[in-house]
């Protein structure tokens, strides 16, 4: 379906005058040039992708277009034939420019109808809310997207994928002509993503231009007709999607070349570290049997909700299996808590770095030592000196770029945060490291660095379970790939013998 849809969206984009055209956009924050002489244009009804690593200026550019920021003198913004030196948020909204931010900016406690239509029914006299009209607006907006939701339910009852649709519906209520979507698929499964892309296509077909910002290059290629690449605040170029490849976009975004090759190698001669037999927790995972050997990286892939994270949490002592056994180094273990699992040599890097993996407001140093406090004890008390030297060592070992150890971890980029999170677990001297979606929210360029670390760790003898819903990640970086679906392991692949497309076809079927 990939090629087919590409042609469709390419033909949907017309080549007449641009809807929006920017020239000479410069944006300075203090001495930092966030945007350097950038130009950008969007044609009516096209799906245009804005690509670039974190900090390359994508969000800044969106904020200039929507009037949040005022660009430096000399900027020219043309929208629907009118010229502006800068936008204001009110003008942008009135003229049909809408943004769906990654965090969606919705109200979880309010109903679907309120979320979609509150903006429309506010204002006017008398200052009363017409709930009937609100519901009608909401139902209409959802119908335009071909979706039916119970508009009277509080939004929090719906999963993230439906909330995304609610956010899109809200944008459509305001008669949108140009919609920006910031990482709309970041937390969606493949089938949810497909549905979202379908919606984007129908928006485009109805004449709404969509600017799509995404880390996932496969879907970028699938959905967009043109791609604008930014790097370090400057325009790299505008490219037609036809004829582009993922690796070419990555090269343009990072300015570096990456060659991906299958890293798998045989580990059959190594002793078994983890031996799981018939592990079952009904409704979450069933009859799971797997082994991980010393120095081996076992990849687990499958759709979100396949039970991958639940299985990992059971191995980490945070979910109790109902039946089956877990053995580590040949000894059967039953964990009452994750503390016992850590003591037995199991470490688990959470998929949710923002709310479970790291304590965002707290210092880098404290985040790194939290799981291995006993190592910095001196006479029963925590030692600042030991903490500092332990942290310095890990920072150097894993090549983390930081300002000061006392800075909040939230000040680091996704890739550097993830390195600290890995260091936090390595400091506990694990035998088995479970990496649950370690590249979520990490730049393409930094991902390679994370996998280099994983490869080195495996080389040093660590047993690793690598969980990811992106099949290529496990294909290229694991020695064996397990496919999980509906709580069961339904397939095992050896990357040296199977083709990537074969595994992808099975997983995304």
């Amino acid at each position: 379906m990939g090629l087919d849809s590409m042609h469709q969206s390419a033909s949907a984009a017309s080549t007449d005058k641009p809807l929006l055209s920017l020239r000479n956009i410069n944006m300075n924050f203090g001495g930092v040039k966030a945007l350097k002489n950038v130009s950008f244009d969007v044609r009516p009804g096209e799906v245009h992708c804005l690509a670039g690593e974190n900090g390359c200026g994508k969000s800044t550019l969106i904020k200039v277009i929507t009037g949040v920021y005022r660009p430096a003198e000399g900027a020219v913004i043309e929208y629907e034939g009118e010229t502006y030196s800068h936008m204001s948020p009110v003008t942008a909204q009135d003229r049909g420019i809408q943004v769906i931010w990654q965090d969606l900016a919705l109200f979880p406690e309010m109903t679907v109808a309120e979320n979609i239509a509150f903006h429309e029914v506010l204002g006017g006299w008398p200052r009363l809310v017409d709930y009937g009209r609100m519901r009608r607006i909401a139902v209409d907006a959802l119908a335009r997207l071909g979706v039916t939701l119970d508009v009277d339910l509080p939004l929090k009852e719906y999963a993230i994928a439906q909330r995304q649709i609610v956010a899109i519906a809200r944008a459509l209520v305001g008669e949108a002509k140009l919609v920006f979507m910031d990482e709309p698929t970041a937390s969606l499964t493949q089938s949810e993503t497909d549905h979202l892309l379908e919606i984007v296509r129908s928006l485009s077909a109805s004449g709404v231009a969509v600017v799509f910002v995404s880390h996932r290059l496969a879907e970028v290629l699938e959905i967009s007709s043109r791609i604008t690449v930014l790097r370090d605040g400057a325009l790299v170029g505008v490219y037609p999607a036809a004829g582009m490849t993922q690796s070419k976009i990555t090269e343009l975004m990072t300015g570096k070349t990456f060659d991906q090759h299958v890293r798998a190698r045989p580990r059959d001669d190594q002793p078994v570290v983890l031996d799981v037999r018939g592990l079952t927790r009904p409704g979450q995972f069933e009859d799971i049997s797997l082994t991980v050997r010393r120095g081996e990286t076992v990849g687990i892939t499958g759709l979100l909700g396949a039970g991958r994270t639940e299985l990992a949490l059971a191995l980490f002592g945070m979910l109790k299996p109902v039946s089956g056994t877990i053995s580590i180094d040949g000894r059967e273990v039953r964990f009452g808590s994750n503390r016992e699992a850590i003591a037995a040599g199991v470490a688990y890097l959470s998929e949710d770095r923002l709310s479970l993996g790291l304590i965002q407001p707290q210092p880098i140093a404290d985040n790194l030592v939290i799981a291995s406090l006993r190592k910095i004890l001196s006479g029963g008390l925590l030692s600042e000196d030991r903490k500092r030297s332990l942290v310095s060592r890990w920072i150097a070992d894993l090549g983390v770029k930081i300002g000061h150890q006392a800075d909040a971890i939230s000040t680091l980029s996704g890739g550097n945060q993830q390195r600290v999170a890995i260091a936090k677990w390595l400091a506990t001297d694990p035998k088995l490291l479970i990496l649950d979606s370690p590249t979520v929210g990490v730049d393409v360029g930094a991902r390679a660095g994370i996998f280099d670390i994983v490869a080195k760790l495996a080389e040093s003898g660590l047993a690793i379970i690598l969980i990811s819903d992106e099949v290529p990640e496990v294909y290229f970086n694991a020695d064996r790939v397990l496919h999980m679906a509906q709580g069961r392991i339904v397939g095992t692949y050896d990357p040296r013998q199977s083709r990537l497309e074969e595994i992808e076809a099975a997983v995304y079927a």
Binding site: G31, Y348, I359, Q362, D366, A371, E384, K424
Partner: protein, 332 residues
Amino acid sequence: MTIIFERIKTAIGPEMAGPGLAFVAVVLVFGIASPQFLSAATFGSVAFQLPELGLLTLAMLLPILTGGLNLAITFTANLAGLTLAWVLKANGGADAGFDIFLVGSLLAVMVGAASGIVMGLVIAFTRAHPILVSLSMMIFLRGLGEFLTRGGDISGFPAFVGVIGHGSVAGIPVPLIVFVVCVLAWHLLLGRTKLGFNTYMIGSNLDATRYSGINTRKAIVLVYTLSGIMCAIAGIIMLARFNSVRIGHGESYLLITVLACFLGGVNPFGGFGRVIPVFVALVVLQLLSSGLNLVGANQHLATAVWGILLVGVMILRWVVSRIKISIVRRGS
């Protein structure tokens, strides 16, 4: 050289700016306004008044750092005081010996700890909001105390109890010694122990702390237990200061302890805050009321001025953070 500088910076911390400035301002203003302000008498009165509010503030500090609150502090202190009073009355009243006092104090500490353990268990296991849990405990303790005392005073303690409340050792008031020892204990606890470390982490993100292999339930129970023990120490000092126990003594301190924590730079949502700035904040509050007293202001006005000071510090902190942001933007 830079390491030494960094260490001094981390030891003092950014939280010190607010209370430090307020301290300098109060000393300057009253030093000029009243010649008697910078005298031994002022510092004597501060030294005797500081510990009651101070000990209760320490009891409030730990739960706030975990992102919670302990609204039962004053009544826990009262109940602990009542326990001590009961032991003294039952064993000779005014003729009771010092050993009886020690036994009574131990029981009082156990009562305080029990109040904390119950709250801690409920908060840790049900994850009910600490405000509701401690409010329930507060109402329970008040009712229990009023029932036991029929709302009256209990007095008639041995003479040495008065010495503990009003005496001095080497010129330093006994309550102040107790308070300073407790401040240092809390400073050590928060800065150098695992429990202290976990307290801050829980305050910022309980789930992430649990995922890191920290026994968060145990930490929360310990935090509330220590809070209860600190209440009991406050209750014993209050008994000695007033030479009596009455349910409701010190009730007005409750919200002031919360504000003293914020004045000392503690984050109201938990995760950040140090003991020493809170200590300085408490000294500032006491100096302010002593100073106002000296220039002849009404005692009730002093409380009002506390309110103004606290709001002023919040605004000042906001202004400073705006300036910092603009410096950072220009600098980089």
